[in-house]
């Protein structure tokens, strides 16, 4: 865990707001963050049925400026960057030479020469090292980690509840699009993106730290009585798992490649060159790599990260994430297992405190939001 020089946890601009709302605070990624306000299950339900408000200011935000950003970033990542259009957001993965993941990230192209790069909180220091170590001409890097806030509103009512405070037409903003627009309570236009980590519709607002409390309070003041709930990292983790979204450190690590994580769609082998191209091509062509599978437990015993997984009585891998999945009414999880054990419908066993419990491999996501 990263901490500042004195070893103490950092706080986001919304820290006092969280305490006033009765949040339970936990250390996460070097910050003191709300894990829950009332109940993980209640907050989860709010996001699935109405909307929830999240403080994600612990996430790393880097500003990348210059004509060389696209080309520079493409060499370090698996997805394409240079062909993104202004106003577009795109998921991507920085890798090491072996194809293992440094981090999974989102690039937001704000205009021709300015990009916002959002990295995981727990990887922010490492990622700053990665981007500054890469030789670049025509690329200027600014680390805004901890200096700018990030507020997300997620859930089917997000457009309705956010629109009154925003100049841009949110309904017209497509999924994975971003815009700089005026928001009530901010001095300058801020970046709003239709992105998230919950499997629901929603928006992320990137704003100066000293304006975060004003915007947070404004959004809750009117909408809380209609059912907008402040939501913590506990609910966020359940929501992302149900939506089949990887969490760095679990489904992807320096040792687990994006191919293994089931993210082949994000790897563009037609790029002329990128850091792990050869390693990932070799892994793809060999085809015998352990991979992430989604699984559903039989019965009430939750699978937890690290539990051993068996196929036909033999050790086949281990659980990487596991939780009760309220939207599917089952215990769900991911496991890193041998290829044969990852096939849809495969019958597995998960060892929990010395007892093996049956589980079945299913295609992810576990939960898909209803079409509007």
């Amino acid at each position: 865990m990263t901490t500042d020089a004195s070893g103490t946890l950092r706080r986001t601009a919304l820290h006092d707001a969280h305490l006033a709302l009765g949040a339970r605070m936990v250390p996460f990624g070097g910050f003191e963050m709300p894990v829950q306000y009332t109940s993980i299950l209640k907050e989860h339900e709010a996001v699935r049925k109405r909307a929830g408000l999240f403080d994600l200011s612990h996430m790393g935000q880097f500003m990348l400026t210059g004509a060389g950003v696209g080309e520079w970033a493409e060499a370090l990542t698996v997805n394409k960057v240079a062909n993104m259009k202004p106003g577009q957001a795109r998921y991507n993965i920085f890798t090491n030479d072996r194809g293992g993941a440094h981090d999974d990230v989102i690039f937001y192209r704000l205009d021709e020469d300015r990009w916002l790069l959002v990295v995981n909180a727990s990887n922010a220091d490492k990622m700053w090292g990665v981007v500054t170590a890469a030789p670049a001409s025509g690329v200027e890097l600014v680390n805004l980690h901890g200096e700018r806030a990030l507020i997300a509103i997620q859930g089917p009512r997000s457009v309705e509840w956010l629109q009154p405070y925003v100049e841009a037409d949110l309904a017209a903003l497509k999924y994975y699009a971003c815009a700089e627009t005026r928001v009530k309570g901010t001095r300058e236009p801020i970046v709003i993106a239709r992105t998230g980590y919950t499997g629901e519709d929603g928006f992320e607002l990137f704003l100066p730290s000293d304006e975060a409390t004003g915007v947070w309070d404004l959004l809750l003041a009117e909408n809380r009585r209609h059912g907008l709930e402040p939501c913590g990292l506990g609910a966020r983790d359940v929501l992302r798992l149900e939506a089949g979204m990887p969490l760095y450190g679990h489904e992807m690590t320096e040792e687990i490649t994006p191919l293994q994580a089931g993210l082949a769609w994000a790897i563009k082998f037609d790029k002329p060159a990128f850091r792990a191209k050869e390693a990932l091509l070799a892994q793809r062509d060999a085809g015998d790599y352990a991979r992430i599978a989604g699984l559903v437990m039989e019965g009430r015993v939750p699978a937890r990260s690290g539990y051993p997984v068996f196929a036909n009585g033999a050790r086949a891998g281990e659980i990487r994430s596991g939780s009760w999945g309220p939207s599917v009414d089952k215990n769900i999880g991911t496991a890193l297992v041998e290829p044969a054990a990852a096939a849809e419908g495969a019958s597995l066993e998960v060892e929990v405190r010395g007892v093996r419990h049956r589980a079945t491999v299913v295609l992810m996501p576990f939960y898909k939001r209803p079409k509007p």
């Binding site: 894990v35 829950q36 109940s39 993980i40 299950l41 506990g234 983790d237 359940v238 009430r300 015993v301 939750p302 937890r304 939780s323 009760w324 215990n331 405190r353």
Partner: protein
């Protein structure tokens, strides 16, 4: 209606430092976790307990209670033979949150030694414990 101390600690029960409660009826004790414990753990999704007839020893870890986020040991506040378990928790583990001293009970133990109750806390002592934590 149970009489309550401050902090919602019911009178008439005994408590452990690990936040379990014990309700004595002759030499049979009903065991559960306190309101303080359920609130700290968050939404309970699973409780694993010894089988009927199993013999357990006071303060041993004899099962687990799982919230959405975490697995926690159950340190039994009393030892003896398991003579009842709350099967309803399989389908409704949330009753531990909503009614920790009632429907959310865990198991019943026939005590092998009544003197072990001297190792437990009174409601006043337990109230002080959680006030200090």
């Amino acid at each position: 209606m149970m009489t309550e101390m401050a902090n919602g600690v019911p009178a008439g029960l005994l408590y452990s430092k690990e936040h379990e409660w014990v309700k004595l009826d002759g030499d049979v004790a009903t065991v559960g976790i306190t309101d303080y414990a359920q609130s700290s753990l968050g939404d309970i999704v699973y409780v694993e307990m010894p089988r009927m007839g199993a013999t357990i020893t006071q303060f041993d870890s004899i099962g687990v209670v799982e919230s959405v986020k975490a697995v926690s040991d159950i340190f039994t506040p009393v030892g003896g033979e398991i003579v009842g378990t709350n099967g309803e928790l399989d389908s409704d583990p949330a009753s531990v949150n909503s009614d920790p001293y009632g429907q959310g009970w865990f198991y019943k133990v026939k005590l092998n030694d009544m003197s072990q109750t001297a190792n437990l806390l009174t409601p006043e002592q337990y109230e002080q414990l959680i006030a200090e934590s």
